[in-house]
Amino acid sequence: MESNNKGSLHPLTLVTNEAVSIFKNLGFEVALGPEIEDEWHNFDALNVPKDHPARDMKDTFFIKNKEGFVLRTHTSNTQIRYMEDLVKSGGNPPFAIVVPGKVFRNESTDATHEMQFHQIEGLMIGTDITVAHMKGVLLEFFKRFFIGENVDIRMRPSFFPFVEPGFEIDLKRGEKWIELLGAGMVHPNVLKNCGIDGEIYQGFAFGIGLDRLMMMKYKIGDARFSYQGDLRINQF
């Protein structure tokens, strides 16, 4: 029989596992969090106030008959939960976590937008963690992820309520720069909201779209292929 009966993993799992493995190598531990989240962990604690235009930056699914709950719009909710738990158990920074997981946006779908997609979020907090460290970690990540290619990154000013300063990070593969992720130094309000002293501790956070990485790595042209239960995508 030539037809084989080997199992296989979804390319998104392969990409997620690889990203996690690189970040673990760079000193991060893996944390997970819930997909239905209260507004405190998804918004307020992340310095996204109610009735503020910053809240519109994400198109949110609200849960019916469960006021104050949403489908998480990012895996950043887990930052907050991790830090709250750390403080509750008497712990302190330093720490570094990555959070892979599914997130949701209430928007119409096309080849690059899905209502559900996957993110890996990173958070590193210590007494002396800098923007230079953020750049170092992200550059090293992309060097390992796109191994054998010439890659570089650059930072542009941007805004996300939970960081200050905030950056858009562009990745260069070959001669082309593409906008790839958001990052920044964690806003002191976010640390404060979790009970961590922002005068002593500082660090960075970032969020990378895993579907996007999958599409880039495997040259898959349409984000929607991922979630159709179609085995033709398991080619790797």
Binding site: M1, E2, S3, G7, L9, H10, P11, T13, L14, N17, K24, G27, F28, V30, A31, P34, E35, I36, P53, A54, D59, F61, F62, I63, K64, P93, P94, F95, A96, N106, T109, Q116, I129, T130, V131, A132, K135, G136, V137, F146, I153, R154, M155, R156, P157, P165, G166, E179, Q202, K219, I220, G221, Y227, G229, D230, L231, R232, N234, Q235, F236
Partner: protein, 599 residues
């Protein structure tokens, strides 16, 4: 926000070229969505102004200030005409806490005409149609300075009296604009009234009746500051999102009103030199305090990770025209300009200094961080379960969390599937059905799939594992699966990471139907097995979507029978039997010519 290069140039006469400005904005201010040269000779930038700077950069004034400060170029303030004003009867009362300031001024004897050419061009650059001189001036203020202003036809008011107060529940107002939109108000909506009638929804849009028309002669200018949340709630509830409401909801400094009143008065005087200006009435209940921020050079260095000097910081602050003092040890005390509402603490100066200095000067370095790592046990379980199922011959799929029935519903989905799945089985069965149709394309004997993901039941969510085939699908919690199905020796081994090297390419599938043909051939027993396969590949043409699959073979009387399945599919059309039959015919002929036999 559309920004005109020529309009910027009016503030920064020595502004560099479009190309240079494009880079400057991108790497030091904000993202540019597009740069377009337009037919009136101007170049227009579409800037993505984010909420932290929407209070001052949704304006040419604000963007020009940034450019001149970053480059240390001279900034040219508009020179206002000196006006002589007469006593006024205008009375303004504020009866709500959501109006922070209201400045009014009556101007009599204006003439509604066409606007001067420069105004028409500026407005055209930012996509606004010229209407008449007075309406255009209010738009010049909106897009130039970033302050919404409004002009009422004074004669349509009951008397020279403005009262800012909340609407009566159920009031109806017809708004200006071609849509003739009538809105029903709530008691939480802040209104501009003349004491009797509603004239405008504060910060959102004016009413039709009090609007400027061709025979307007006397006007009342409104320059005001409103609470952002109040304006936002009303605008959103009514779905009347205007350029004015967008600016108010992002918070505007009340101090901007002074400048705006001077500028609008000056512009009206310019287009209507015969107009008579009355005194400004300024009700300003909540003045803003002066704000100061203290930071040190070492704080900036400690956050950016760049060795920036006191002198470099001093130069940046000077170019930005900050009022500041510097003391020993690199400590800076900065008076925050009233318009910079985003600067609230030392942390904001990491960005303010960093982006002016240049983020390209940040050199990446790897941190060393020491703490006790403890990966999520759920993550470990997911990895184990996936590996176990893959080793047992199951292939992983992912399906949608959204379905058309379930226990948890989301509000206002962009799709028709408003529920969250409460099981994986339904999705997996659908996946099995779909993949079974494609079985000949998949190199599998039978479809065996699994999914691991979150399901949502009333008041909780749980990670499930589901796996199965055409006959049966099994679903259980992740914990139970790992406990019952993953042997201990599995745990030490790590899951294979992503595949092989960098140059992997995904092969897109065709969306046209495929055709399968089976062929069995008797071949002498000592014949090279590959020879038949190569003939099939060669004569099967490019329409063979995959390698021929051997699905049966046996030996008898010195010969071997090989049975192959051929799958034909085109990327650009539906194949027909008429197209495939000749291919099969050629294959048979070739086989006969070798003395083999098609069974």
């Amino acid at each position: 926000m559309l920004i005109s290069y020529k309009w910027l140039q009016s503030y920064v006469p020595s502004i560099p070229s479009v190309d240079q400005i494009t880079d400057l904005i991108t790497f030091h201010i904000c993202e540019i969505e597009s740069v377009e040269k337009i037919s009136n000779g101007d170049t227009v930038f579409d800037l993505k102004i984010l909420p932290d700077r929407a209070h001052d950069l949704l304006s040419h004034y604000g963007v020009a200030k940034e450019i001149s400060s970053l480059l240390g170029l001279q900034f040219k303030e508009i020179e206002y005409k000196t006006l002589i004003s007469k006593a006024t009867d205008l009375k303004i009362d504020i009866e709500t806490k959501n109006c922070r300031r209201y400045m009014g001024r009556i101007v009599r004897g204006v003439k509604i005409e066409k606007s001067p050419e420069w105004m028409v061009k500026y407005l055209e650059s930012v996509g606004q149609r010229s209407i008449n001189n007075i309406v255009d001036i209010t738009n010049i203020l909106l897009f130039g300075l970033g302050q919404p202003v409004h002009a009422f036809d004074l004669k349509k008011l009951d008397n020279s009296h403005i009262v800012v107060k909340n609407a009566k529940e159920g009031d109806i107002l017809e708004l200006v604009g071609s849509e003739k939109l009538k809105v029903t108000l709530k008691s939480t909506d802040m209104m501009i009234t003349d004491g009797k009638n509603n004239l405008a929804i504060a910060g959102v849009k004016g009413g039709l009746l009090s609007g400027i028309s061709d025979d307007t002669t006397d006007i009342l200018i409104e320059v005001a500051s409103f609470d952002p949340v109040s304006v936002r709630k009303t605008a959103r509830r009514l779905s009347v999102l205007t350029d004015a409401s967008k600016r108010y909801e992002n918070d505007l400094s009340s101090t901007l009103c002074d400048k705006a009143m001077q500028e609008i008065s000056s512009l009206i005087f310019e287009v209507c030199p015969g107009a008579l200006f009355e005194e400004i009435v300024d009700i300003y209940p909540s003045k803003v305090d002066e704000r100061k921020v203290i930071f040190t050079t070492s704080y900036i260095v400690k956050n950016l990770g760049v060795n920036i000097t006191d002198e470099a910081i001093e130069k940046i602050l000077k170019n930005y025209n900050y009022d500041f003092s510097k003391s020993d040890g690199g400590m800076f005390e900065v008076s925050i300009p009233a318009l910079r509402l985003d600067l609230t603490g030392a942390h904001d100066f990491i960005e303010e200094i960093g982006r002016a200095y240049g983020y390209d000067k940040v050199i990446g370095e790897l941190p060393s961080i020491d703490f006790e790592r403890k990966d999520s046990s759920v993550w470990g379980q997911i990895s184990l379960a996936k590996r176990k199922l893959a080793e047992d011959g199951y292939r992983e799929v992912m399906t949608y969390a959204f379905t058309d029935k379930g226990e948890v519903e989301v509000l206002a989905s962009a799709s028709d599937k408003n529920f969250l799945r409460n099981n994986l089985t339904d999705g997996l069965k659908e996946s099995i059905r779909l993949n079974t149709l494609n079985l000949p394309l998949l190199d599998m004997k039978e479809i065996k799939v699994f999914e691991i993901g979150t399901v949502f039941v009333k008041d909780s969510e749980e990670i499930h594992v589901a796996y199965g085939d055409k006959k049966n699908v099994v679903e259980m919690s992740l914990e139970k699966f790992v406990k019952e199905n993953v042997p201990h020796e599995f745990e030490g081994r790590s899951l294979k990471d992503s595949s092989q090297g960098p140059s992997l390419g995904f092969k897109m599938w065709s969306s046209y139907p495929f055709i399968t043909r089976d062929i069995a051939v008797w071949v002498p027993i000592n014949e090279d097995k590959e020879k038949l396969k190569n003939i099939l590949k060669e004569l099967g043409t490019d329409l063979l979507i995959k390698e021929p699959t051997l699905f049966d073979s046996f030996e008898k009387d010195g010969r071997t029978s090989y049975a192959y399945r051929l799958v034909f599919q085109s990327y650009d059309r539906t194949l027909t039997d008429e197209e495939i039959n000749p291919i099969m015919q050629k294959i048979s002929e070739k086989i006969s010519s070798l003395g083999w036999e098609v069974r």
